[in-house]
């Protein structure tokens, strides 16, 4: 009895003539993801990718977990591959799914036959396998409408597969089908979630982090690296640029009106980020802002921030409540790390009463006290690169 993993491709199949490209990317990503645990054969047929381990000692639990984190897979399950023989299929259904079926209350069997040379039709296969299961587990009831377990038998070209309920996959599109964009990451709850959400749409990430030593510490930076490491489990390799931001922040604090500190800081961050993004072929910036969450995230403030750059700024969390954002961060496992209490560049100089409806001409006037171009150039040029790999 040989065990494999079946991954269902979702939206990818809708992509017409591009489908082959998407499929190839997905296969490549799955191979790369599984590479550390052993050798697999990964092949697509119809809307399914068949993942077959090439040696006996491969940890299939680990492989299954990894497949669950590949974007472009909508559902996946472990399956038993058997020869195309009805007796073999019957016994595989009972033996391979024994633990699952023993714990369940009801089941049904669904069959798919793409090999039309197989002597039984789909309804017959279901009937034969179903009654064999019912005979073996007398406690188990047949329920064709809302079964607890759906046993699926697929008779394909090379072999027949038996499996039970599939798990929900990570969804989305394979990376880097969406191109490259740069995420501004601080270390809070929101930005890692924003990074994850854009990666899910096939975006390849570059990360930009602003550090202001001695106002922020080594630990704050390490926290961001840890967060990106978790995100990279989904998003793959991430290049992180740490920008020395102390000088700009001290200038703002020294020369600009207090109620505009945050908005001016955000504008400087965007300008520096755009420079870095362009150097590394990113077509957009990504931020973790959610409308109205804090003073710098009001519509007025966002409008005022965005006019400093001329590339798209993606804000995937813009319409989400904090509770919803936290739910995602818990799902992807960044929440606890995000809570670590280190100063980040956004909390260092918080004005007591930040302006919530800044006007852009007013902000531009307030900024004009300083010659920023050189400082921005210097900050972007001083950014240090760290490459983050999934653990």
């Amino acid at each position: 009895m040989k065990e494999i993993i079946l991954a269902k491709i979702g939206e990818v199949v809708l992509k017409g003539l591009n489908r082959k490209n998407f499929e190839d990317l997905l296969i490549k990503n799955i191979k790369r993801k599984l590479h550390p645990i052993g050798a697999f054969e990964v092949k697509a047929s119809q809307s399914t990718i068949r993942i077959t381990p090439l040696s006996e000692d491969i940890d299939m639990d680990e492989a299954e977990d990894k497949i669950g984190k590949v974007f472009g897979v909508v559902a996946y399950c472990r399956a038993c591959a058997v020869e195309k023989d009805i007796e073999a299929i019957k016994s595989a259904a009972v033996e391979y799914l024994r633990d699952t079926l023993e714990d369940a209350k009801s089941f049904k069997v669904e069959s798919k036959r793409s090999d039309k040379k197989f002597p039984y039709g789909s309804p017959d296969i279901s009937k034969i396998v179903g009654s064999h299961i019912a005979d073996t587990f007398p406690e188990l009831e047949v329920d064709v409408h809302t079964p607890e377990i759906t046993v699926t038998v697929e008779v394909r070209d090379m072999a027949a597969y038996v499996h039970a309920n599939a798990k929900e996959g990570a969804g989305g599109l394979p990376i880097p089908s969406g191109g490259r964009a740069a995420i501004l990451i601080s270390g809070g709850i929101d930005s890692p979630v924003a990074a994850y959400m854009m990666a899910k749409r096939g975006i390849e990430l570059t990360a930009i982090h602003f550090a202001s030593p001695p106002y922020t510490s080594e630990r704050a930076e390490e926290k961001v690296r840890t967060l990106l490491e978790i995100v990279s489990d989904y998003a793959g390799r991430i290049e992180m640029y740490t920008v020395p931001f102390t000088k700009i922040q001290e200038e703002i604090k020294d020369k600009c009106p207090e109620d505009l500190f945050t908005i001016i800081m955000r504008r400087m961050m965007m300008r520096v980020s755009q420079k870095i993004a362009q150097q590394h072929e990113c077509l957009a910036l990504i931020t973790g802002e959610s409308l109205g969450q804090v003073a710098s995230q009001t519509l007025g403030a966002i409008a005022c921030t965005d006019e400093t750059v001329n590339m798209p700024v993606f804000r995937p969390l813009i319409g989400m409540d904090k509770k919803e954002i936290i739910a995602v961060s818990e799902k992807i496992n960044t929440f606890e790390t995000s809570l670590l209490p280190y100063e980040d560049c956004c909390t260092v100089f918080t004005p007591r009463h930040p302006r919530t409806k800044p006007k852009s001409d007013m902000v531009a006037r307030a900024e004009s006290a300083v010659e920023w171009d050189e400082l921005i150039e210097e900050a972007a040029a001083g950014a240090k690169c760290t490459v983050i790999y999934p653990k």
Binding site: P214, S217, Q249, E250, D254, E343, F349
Partner: protein, 377 residues
């Protein structure tokens, strides 16, 4: 050379303790509970270590129970004492400025139905003897207080507590968390009249992961762990002999405490006068605090920022307690200080080896920080 003035967080290992631990690791690997001669050899070392530590607090060696550190000893004392006495009363008296290992244990006891009174310090950080006397009633089964506060160095009236309990007629045990006082003030458990007393190895140049609880002979407390017969069943588990012997070795060096205290008092006065000459800087510890700990606020630069500034000069101090990084100090808040004062607080803690050169380098660097870093006021 680095300037390490964060000795209330932890101390540098004494070279003698390191040698002793190497010896034990290499040569004395037996289990003290084994019946053969290697076991006996280990048991002998354990016995010697216990006697050494007992001597430093004026206890009998049978009254010293080794634990994994101060936190475990405090948990064992507070939870064990309350649970053992729950039929005799339900009140526990403690303070608002305890270490989190006592504070959180008290919170746990509240969940279990005990009533906990948290005494509030005055603006100096002092806990009033009268407040303590008022709080201890006939229903009180445990009084738990620290000897010296870890953030301000304030000395609590633990030496009066035994008499107060006796006068009230309460069936209360007295637990003293002496982690910050140990090795700095002379401690005699009989004189203090306490039933339980916590000490920790890594605050006296011993290893981390080791501490001890003094339990007065005849006093019963409930254990937290269950297992073998080690530590008279109060703390089962094979003894961490390496750390315990390192602890004992460091404890052997706790001599001439009053000479050391005199020297550190002078060093404290010098350091303080330098620090308080910085514009805006105020002192948070009272005049009669343990001189090993200085707490000040710059009222200008955030603690964390100042810490990173100092570390760039290879100087290491703390913003409060090392156990609560990033959080506003509950001690300074309880003393009624403003947020600005609490957010700009710095704790400097000496060891007996600290020098005036180190203090001067610190004062220079703090001054530079206040003058150059962005202020939050």
């Amino acid at each position: 050379m680095e300037v390490y003035l964060d000795n209330s967080a932890t101390t540098k290992l004494s070279p003698k303790a390191i040698d002793e631990m190497l010896r034990i690791m290499k040569d004395v690997y037996g289990n003290p509970s084994s019946l053969h001669s290697l076991g006996k050899q280990a048991e002998d070392e354990l016995k010697r270590a216990r006697e050494t530590v007992a001597k430093t607090i004026g206890a009998d060696s049978g009254e010293v129970y080794f634990t994994s550190g101060g936190t475990e000893a405090n948990n064992l004392a507070v939870l064990g004492a309350a649970r053992a006495r729950k039929r005799r009363g339900s009140r526990i008296v403690t303070t608002m400025i305890e270490h989190s290992s006592v504070f959180e244990s008290c919170k746990e006891l509240e969940e279990e139905g005990f009533e906990v009174i948290y005494l509030k310090p005055d603006a100096q950080g002092h806990i009033s003897e009268n407040d303590l006397a008022d709080a201890v009633d006939k229903n009180t089964i445990l009084v738990t207080m620290m000897y010296v506060n870890n953030e301000t160095g304030c000395i609590l009236p633990v030496d009066r507590a035994a008499r107060i309990i006796k006068k009230s007629g309460a069936p209360a045990l007295l637990h003293i968390d002496a982690v910050q006082a140990y090795g700095k003030l002379p401690i005699k458990v009989r004189k203090l009249g306490c039933d339980l007393l916590t000490v920790s190895a890594h605050k006296i140049h011993g290893p981390k992961g080791c501490g001890a609880l003094y339990i007065k002979k005849g006093v019963y407390i409930k254990p937290l762990f269950f297992g073998g017969e080690q530590e008279s069943k109060k703390r089962p588990g094979t003894e961490a002999l390496t750390q315990i012997c390192g602890f004992a070795s460091a404890a052997e060096e706790l001599t001439d405490l009053s000479e050391k205290l005199d020297r550190i008092t002078k060093l404290r006065d010098h350091t303080l006068s330098r620090l308080l000459s910085i514009d805006g800087t105020v002192r948070n510890s009272p005049d009669d605090a343990l001189p090993y700990i200085i707490n000040i606020s710059t009222n200008a630069v955030k603690s964390e920022t100042m810490l990173h500034h100092l570390e760039s000069h290879d100087i290491y101090i703390s913003s409060g307690s090392a156990c609560a990084k990033g959080k506003r100090s509950h001690v300074l808040t309880a003393m009624g200080y403003s947020n600005l004062r609490a957010d700009t607080a710095l704790r400097i803690s000496f060891s007996a080896d600290s020098t005036q050169e180190e203090a001067d380098r610190l004062a220079d660097a703090v001054k530079e920080g206040v003058e150059t870093l962005v202020r939050i006021n």
